[in-house]
């Protein structure tokens, strides 16, 4: 019997879920980038836009979850297909959390009365690291690239150490009135790195069926 592709609609539905995850990833990365840009440039308009766009990410989360639930109910996914569904649930939650942290950073900016007046290089370094981790984790997902996913997991230590340095920097300076906000921002960025690491670990699971915790098999 000749081989022919069966279950065309099902395969298309699975692909659509993966496209939605990538779309959500791009939206979350943009939100994180813009939230930092708004903070560093004291751009309240951009901060407001980040907060407004969070609804788009939330909506994508709902659409992804609904599509996953329907496919489970109607198509009995197994093996790699099942991992696509399972990891889509997990990754979409991580991306939504990244969006929330970007929202939180943007809200701090929008509440500021005047720009921060001190060296922002540590925050910049930490945010560059976190944003590049999101970018790589989504690329790894899109291209089923396990090596790149492992790189993201390794990068998490770097994010943690940049976070520690930022905290030291904050405590070394007297930043009248702005210290709590900066601690929060640093914490949000460190958490964004954690979520990107989670996504990378789910990419590894998706492609290899092996559970990872910071590149260690568990």
């Amino acid at each position: 019997m000749e081989n022919q592709v069966t279950r065309k609609a099902y395969i298309e539905d699975l692909a659509r879920i993966q496209e939605k995850i990538v779309e959500m990833g791009i939206a979350a990365e943009t939100a994180a980038k813009n939230s930092i840009k708004a903070l560093l440039n004291f751009d309240k308009k951009l901060a407001a836009q980040v907060m407004e766009n969070d609804d788009i990410i939330d909506q994508l989360l709902i659409e992804t979850e609904d599509a996953c639930i329907l496919l489970i109910a109607k198509q009995q996914p197994i093996a790699h297909d099942l991992r696509v569904i399972a990891t889509s649930f997990k990754i979409s939650t991580d991306l939504e959390r990244i969006g929330d942290h970007a929202f939180d950073i943007a809200r701090i900016t929008s509440n500021l009365e005047k720009p921060f007046n001190f060296d922002k290089s540590h925050i910049k370094a930490l945010s560059d690291c976190a944003i590049s981790m999101i970018n790589m984790s989504i690329k790894a997902y899109k291209n089923a690239d396990v090596n790149l996913a492992e790189k993201v997991c390794n990068e998490d230590d770097n994010a943690d150490s940049l976070f520690a340095k930022t905290l030291t920097e904050i405590s070394d300076h007297t930043l009248a009135g702005a210290v709590p906000e900066f601690v929060f921002i640093s914490r949000y960025l460190e958490r964004i790195g954690d979520h990107a690491t989670n996504i990378a670990e789910w990419v590894i699971y998706l492609e290899t069926a092996e559970r990872m915790r910071k590149t260690k098999k568990i």
Binding site: M1, E2, Q4, T6, Y10, A73
Partner: protein, 251 residues
């Protein structure tokens, strides 16, 4: 929404035994409606009322109405042969005629008056293509249909129905005698066919109903318990009995 067929307050009796109770069900145009339920629930009986196949059983008595494009198919002046051309049927077991693949398809159009050889050739090719069978059999159209695999025979039977240009196709567990790959091929075919036809399918396989249908109707003890969009039936059915059945708690 446009309804191709509608059943209204349909009751059916085998002699004094009532088999269907007050069934009202709409079949939207160009959609797949799946009828599910445990054995003996009345789903096949209901399917057969849609092209009056139950007329062949002497003891059957029906009241209520079934409409095709708004016309009552049980009206006294209904031409039953023409009705069954418009509402074709595919059965549980593939039942090709013991003749060539070509003749199986050409048979229907011929008895409906098509004699022209070129026209028949066109119908045979078009029907086999639409049944996703042409590529597999185009070089052996004169071979006996009995030598085909079960899955091919069932697609031949679908092609045979298509050859007389029906509007509605009734399928009575069309995959129950087929292997999984053939089953998937039929399911793919159904998804293609609904672009041009309206399909009502009885299936014992709930997952199949979930995969292929747009609407699902759940029958139990001759009653229509619930019918809705398939997405709703399989994620949030309204009736506890439907949920128990689709989740395998009885049946």
């Amino acid at each position: 929404m446009q309804y191709k067929m509608q059943a209204k307050n349909l009751n059916l009796y085998y002699g004094s035994k009532q088999a269907l109770f007050n069934i009202s069900l709409d079949v939207p145009s160009n959609k797949v409606v799946a009828l599910i339920g445990p054995s003996g629930c009345g789903k096949s009986t209901f399917l057969k009322t849609l092209n009056r196949m139950n007329d062949l059983i002497d003891s059957v008595h029906i009241d209520g109405d079934i409409f095709l494009d708004g016309n009552d198919i049980y009206a006294p002046d209904t031409d039953i042969v023409y009705l069954r051309k418009r509402v074709g049927m595919v059965f549980q077991r593939p039942n090709p005629f013991p003749m060539s693949i070509y003749e199986n398809i050409a048979y229907g159009p011929r008895i409906h008056g098509t004699r022209n050889k070129n026209q028949l050739n066109e119908i045979v090719e078009k029907s086999l293509r639409n049944a996703a069978l042409w590529d597999e059999v185009k070089d052996r159209l004169n071979d006996s249909a009995m030598g085909m695999s079960g899955g091919q025979q069932q697609r031949l039977c679908i092609a045979r129905v298509l050859a007389v240009e029906p509007e509605v196709i009734l399928m009575d567990e069309p995959c129950s005698a087929l292997d999984p790959i053939s089953t998937m091929k039929i399911e793919e075919l159904v998804a293609e066919l609904k672009k041009n036809y309206t399909i009502v399918m009885v299936t014992h396989n709930m997952q199949q109903a979930a995969r292929v249908s747009d609407y699902t109707a759940f029958f139990l003890n001759g009653k229509l318990i619930e019918h809705d969009i398939t997405d709703v039936i399989f994620t949030n059915p309204a009736d506890k009995q439907t949920e128990d059945y689709i989740s395998g708690r009885f049946g």
